[in-house]
Symmetry: C2
Subunit: 356 residues, 2 copies
């Protein structure tokens, strides 16, 4: 049956149909500015070219591409936001060069192949939402040989951090368990029903929420207490759907740079606009979501809090193995397993997380 896909469609596209949400993304100027620069600082790449914008939303990237000199831009959007994009394109006087098409990229038809595919597909921890799948489908269906993807590359990074939120979360969990104990008392007193047989399950449920769910965080660079490991690099021109859907596994070392507890592993990503081998960009632009003293992008960083924290000393080496797999019940969400130990010291620990 097609039920799971339909469910996914309804849920996934829901928020993107709101201008409120498109505004949230547009006013993330590190994000929107990076795409703007990638187009405007590489006009010779766009001049006279045919471009496809996968998931055009408000139409913004299609407009950048047209302004950078594209002859024709196909702007594909699944939701009703396509109607707003059409209006926005017309208001800039670009209806001659931009064609907005409402539909899912997996099934729309285009009258020609394209030189460039531009798309803003990144989710939390890069891969949440799995929209890169759709970009690869678009690439295989519509990109000319030698054509370029914007962005062309992506990297995933993990670093150890220090953060009060770790203790706070632990406290919230404990409060929640105290609340449960009170609740048990009430249920017993008022109705003579003993719910204690559910305490372990409740504990698990709450632990799941407080300890095993990755958190959106805006980390200050000073909180990073070790080397940042680039544990995965994607070249979007050669990446296959199969590789992308397969579980991700990586092993690497992190060097601790300060004495004290490591409260969490913090994950972020960046994407590079290098063009393709045949059509490289003149000016390489990078969109980074790394910890930044001026504040995070709307993606923030995903922090994986450790309960308890790992005690470390300057010079310690953390041997880390990370596994990222798609959730069976929802392919757009992910489970992350981090196995780690301080080399030559403690024994290995395994910490598991969901990215919601």
């Amino acid at each position: 049956g097609d039920a799971p896909e339909s469910t996914d469609f309804a849920n996934y596209f829901c928020t993107y149909a709101y201008l409120y949400h498109q505004k949230d993304m547009l006013e993330d100027h590190k994000r929107t500015g990076a795409y703007y620069n990638a187009c405007m600082q590489n006009r010779e790449q766009f001049a006279g070219k045919v471009v496809l914008d996968v998931g055009t939303g408000s139409g913004i990237l299609a407009i950048f591409a047209a302004r950078a000199g594209a002859r024709k831009v196909y702007a594909v959007e699944a939701t009703d936001m396509a109607k707003s994009a059409k209006r926005l394109v017309a208001a800039q006087g670009l209806e001659g060069s931009i064609e907005v098409i409402q539909g899912v990229i997996e099934s729309v038809e285009l009258p020609e192949k394209v030189d460039i595919i531009i798309s803003e597909w990144m989710g939390y921890f890069l891969l949440r939402e799995s929209m890169l799948d759709s970009v690869l489908v678009a690439r295989d269906r519509f990109l000319k040989p030698g054509g370029a993807l914007y962005p062309s590359h992506a990297r995933m990074v993990l670093a150890p951090i220090r953060s009060n939120q770790c203790r706070q979360r632990q406290g919230d969990f404990q409060n929640s368990m105290e609340g449960w104990a009170e609740f048990l008392g009430e249920m017993k007193r008022y109705y003579n029903v003993d719910l204690d047989c559910l305490s372990d399950d409740y504990r698990k449920e709450q632990l799941d929420y407080f300890s095993h769910t990755a958190a959106w965080t805006d980390i200050h660079p000073s909180q990073v207490v070790g080397t940042a490991a680039v544990f995965k690099t994607y070249d979007l021109h050669t990446l296959t759907l199969e590789e992308l859907k397969a579980p991700l596994n990586a092993s690497f070392n992190i060097r601790v740079l300060e004495d004290g507890p490591v409260d969490a592993y913090c994950g972020w990503f960046d994407t590079q606009f290098k063009g393709s081998a045949e059509n490289p960009t003149t000016n390489e632009v990078v969109l980074s979501t790394a910890p930044d003293p001026t504040g995070a992008t709307h993606w923030g960083q995903q922090s994986f809090f450790l309960h308890p924290p790992v005690d470390c000393a300057e010079g310690d080496v953390l041997a880390v193995e990370i596994d990222v797999v798609r959730r069976k019940d929802n392919q757009r969400l992910m489970d992350v397993k981090i196995q780690h130990r301080v080399e030559g010291k403690g024994k290995a620990r395994t910490s598991c997380f969901h990215i919601e």
Copy 2:
């Protein structure tokens, strides 16, 4: 296709699978206590009877029914919470009389008909979630002639209120529109893109959110500034699925009891445990969600804020017509239209709301 039903299934049942959510309902003691009293104060009704609990959740109502003397209780629950219910039932030593069955009531089979159906099916503004549909299906499938529904009756109420939240919401809306204006300026300055053509749509979207969405409120009785109108009464023994699914329309008058603005219409409900004509309860219990100085139930009251408020004087009569219809895109949600005017004064106004 069965896609919409599957979507609905996944979304609707999702939260009920968490103990956290079941706890939220259980510790609403006005709610749980009313069901407890309905059982314990009517033991002669339960003694030796066969009971069906539609949507047993944690199993609590099945336990009450068994303790009140039921010979056999079938406790049906769609989600995995059925497993917890089974455990809870066993922990009270009631596995002999309570049979927990995981499944949707529309398709489970029971080995016999039942004397009593108990269920806690009420949603915001009584009807949100549309779970009463399932109770009527259960009634038609499993209730013996003359059998009783717990609760047996439900009533919907609307009253005019005074509330600061009305002005606050208006302020939030204005802030949001100022934010949009700033955003337009930035988009123009940074990228030379003029988004003003989307301003009307953004305004509509925000108005929809701030002015046309019903709000969960905990109203103090002193805020009620007019008579409370019971505009709909349901007798669950005779109500048909057809009637229940049809649009609800009611006209009634409200007398204003204080000078000043009416900021909102406030809606709540109550349910009565009267049993059936053949098997009436000895002690009638009522579960009310009306404004209460000791605080609201977890349902609160749904307030429909008026922008601008209606200026009223003591003695004014508000002629009100209300329409409640299920949303086409999600049968569990509702649209509410309130047409109202001060008799002999201003002209009629129409205010439209979603219940989300």
